[in-house]
Symmetry: C2
DNA sequence: TTTACTACTTTGCTATACAATGTATTAAAA
DNA sequence: TTTTAATACATTGTATAGCAAAGTAGTAAA
């Protein structure tokens, strides 16, 4: 295992990614490439091989649905939308995230 | 995969754990059971099967050292201490953590 | 009809959290 | 003196998930 900054970040991303996806889709429907762009804009690099399986997992869990939509240029896009179940899961994640942030703060003291 | 609150938390813990351990040992030397207690006190449940391999990993990476110390009751304890390399890694993790917290905030807006 | 671009998908690898189980030391109880 | 309880360190096997790399396919411009 390497020991770079990227590695540290990559490790920390684990588990938080699912939370990010649901949060993004809670604002508005989106397709994979646009989600990657949004994450990139938020300083979090995610690759396709990570995102696609994650979206499929969340869809299979009933947290998301999707629909096909024509693209103005290129192949059709798979737009994902958050479900009620997804929103409820997101609420749990909000709480879990707050708890972890608090935990880190507590430990740092 | 189940879908409980605990599961969500468990996912989020991934990658943050290493950061917690270094942060705790940056305050003072400690042995495994005391680290588990401190994490429990900070609302983060960790089991032995998780912590021991992690400590060994970090030791092998040169982030930690250890020494044996007699216990007032029971078998001797393996006290871990953070190294200079560990402190430098911790500084990187501080930055990575801040970045992730910022990312979540940004996405939530 | 070939090239470029966009978009979705899959495969193989590796790392790691965790449950479960095992080993060992110490001291008190029987 | 043997057994039991408590403490502490360690390992094994399993499942999950991020990622690199390679693959498939639709659309439109050259």
């Amino acid at each position: 295992m390497e020991n770079t900054v990227d590695n540290v970040k990559s490790q920390m991303r684990k588990g938080v990614l699912e939370y990010c996806i649901l949060s993004i889709l809670n604002k508005k429907d989106a397709y994979a490439s646009s989600i990657i762009d949004e994450l990139k804009g938020a300083n979090m690099i995610v690759v396709e091989g990570t995102l696609y399986p994650l979206l499929i997992r969340q869809k299979n869990q009933g947290l998301l649905t999707y629909r096909w939509e024509e693209s103005p240029q290129g192949p059709p896009r798979k737009y994902y939308a958050i479900t009620e179940k997804g929103k409820s899961q997101l609420a749990e994640m909000d709480a879990a995230w707050k708890e972890i942030v608090d935990t880190i703060e507590f430990i740092k003291k």
